[in-house]
Symmetry: C2
């Protein structure tokens, strides 16, 4: 009976052209990262991100980074910080990160965004955004 | 042919007991929030969150807050901060927040976690965690 119900649903999805593609992958790893943003570049950073280039977003997806968000907040030290959250659905983040870094359009994008940012002094060598530690998660 | 392929996939899902339930809702709103964590309470906070009470997690879901994560990072001011990310799938966050705050188990949980935290002085009146501003998002 359950099989029949799902089969009917699938036929309906097909009729309505709703794709069953892109299901939740078996294993998703969540990432949280942080970086400073220069006060004098804050408005420029926000303006750039109000319309991120479609190629930059497409490259994020191509590198298996989905559900990607950046949040902004001024903290008690008087400085502004950016907080990045995304879910990685691939199997080799290092390789995917290198693929992204090699993309000419992404490089042009970073030439605009990097000068807005002020990386944390104690980030890992080779990193730009600093990794945060996941304390808890609930689906 | 496409219908057949999807039908076979669904039969496989059924055989493997993979549910097609809980699809992405029509409208999801993402939230990012931040709060300080007291240095002397850092380990206690992490210990508590290594095994969040199941009732607390269930209440999050019951209040339409899904994909909930908390990240931790020490920032250049030498203090530690917690960054919360979640997706709200309901239609009245205020009502759902009140429902959560009225739950006795959640209240007991907060009696343990609140003393670990140091809210931002410039948070909105009535808030505990301070809202962050979403700068960009890519599905």
């Amino acid at each position: 009976m359950r099989v029949l119900a799902i089969a009917v649903a699938v036929l309906l999805m097909n009729a309505l052209n709703i794709s069953a593609a892109d299901p939740a992958p078996a294993k998703v790893k969540r990432y949280g990262k942080v970086i400073g943003v220069r006060a004098e570049k804050l408005e420029e950073y926000k303006r750039l991100h109000a319309s991120v280039w479609p190629e930059v977003n497409a490259m994020l997806r191509a590198c298996n980074m989905r559900n990607f968000s950046i949040f902004l907040r001024k903290l008690p030290d008087g400085k502004h910080y950016l907080f990045m959250y995304f879910e990685y659905t691939g199997t080799d983040l290092d390789a995917d990160s290198k693929k992204m870094a090699a993309d000419p359009t992404t490089q042009r994008w970073w030439k605009l965004t990097d000068p807005c940012q002020e990386p944390l002094p104690d980030r890992k060598t080779g990193d730009w955004w600093a990794d945060m530690e996941e304390v808890c998660h609930n689906d």
